[in-house]
């Protein structure tokens, strides 16, 4: 089975801090994604990557950046955390750059910005 592991289940940070959320997948998937999930808003795509060192903006990239130095690892960076970035963050991966692929999700990181 595909395993997508997010480094932290819960994280509390302060406004203005630089925050790193880490995600690792063990199935050699090309595509990796970062979403945030908020009540009443559902899942929204922040950034995705279809290859090492490649990144594409999703629907809500403002205030975030990403890094993909190795195929298995995709990091989400909050450059200067703000309270409106308090959310559940979900990482996902899929194989190959084709449609109809199921997204394999991690268990999420619940981030609170104080």
């Amino acid at each position: 089975d595909v395993k997508v592991t997010q480094s932290s289940r819960y994280l509390v940070k302060r406004t203005g801090e630089k925050v790193f959320l880490e995600c690792v997948q063990d199935m050699d998937h090309e595509n990796m994604f970062w979403y945030r999930q908020d009540p009443g808003l559902g899942l929204r795509l922040i950034y995705f990557s279809y290859d090492v060192k490649m990144k594409e903006k999703g629907d809500i990239p403002e205030g975030y950046s990403v890094s993909r130095e190795k195929k298995e690892r995709f990091s989400l960076i909050l450059e200067s955390a703000s309270t409106n970035q308090t959310s559940m963050y979900l990482c996902a991966s899929t194989p190959l750059r084709q449609g109809h692929q199921p997204q394999h999700f991690g268990d999420g990181t619940r981030l609170s910005i104080l």
Partner: protein
């Protein structure tokens, strides 16, 4: 603009009843997926529908993709308490250049099955 409208947002019914969840859009999707998410976990894929008019069954769950590939439904027969969870539909929009560019998710249906 919400590309995928999911309804109802909340549903609480008794065990043994039937229910249907709807996922509608004005956009055409190359495929549509249904996920189930339990508290503290990530979404898990239930099914993918690809062909317009397609019907797939997963035990007591029946999934249908609209003929025009703009809408989908999930029907649960004789609901059980174990069906409780957040159900998400997600469409694969072919963006420029195609490829797996991330899914467009509905807001989800919170389903509670009471014993």
């Amino acid at each position: 603009t919400q590309l995928l409208e999911q309804s109802p947002q909340f549903l609480s019914i008794q065990e043994g009843e039937n229910l249907t969840v709807y996922c509608n859009s004005s956009s055409v999707f190359s495929s549509l997926q249904w996920y189930r998410q339990e508290p503290g976990e990530g979404p898990v894929l239930l099914v993918t529908v690809v062909t317009g008019g397609e019907v797939k069954k997963l035990k007591r769950l029946t999934f249908q993709f609209g003929d025009a590939r703009k809408d989908s439904s999930l029907h649960i027969t004789a609901a059980q308490t174990g069906d409780t969870g957040l159900y998400l539909c997600a469409g694969d929009l072919l963006r420029d250049g195609g490829g797996a560019d991330g899914l467009t998710f509905g807001k989800g249906t919170h389903l509670i099955i009471q014993p």
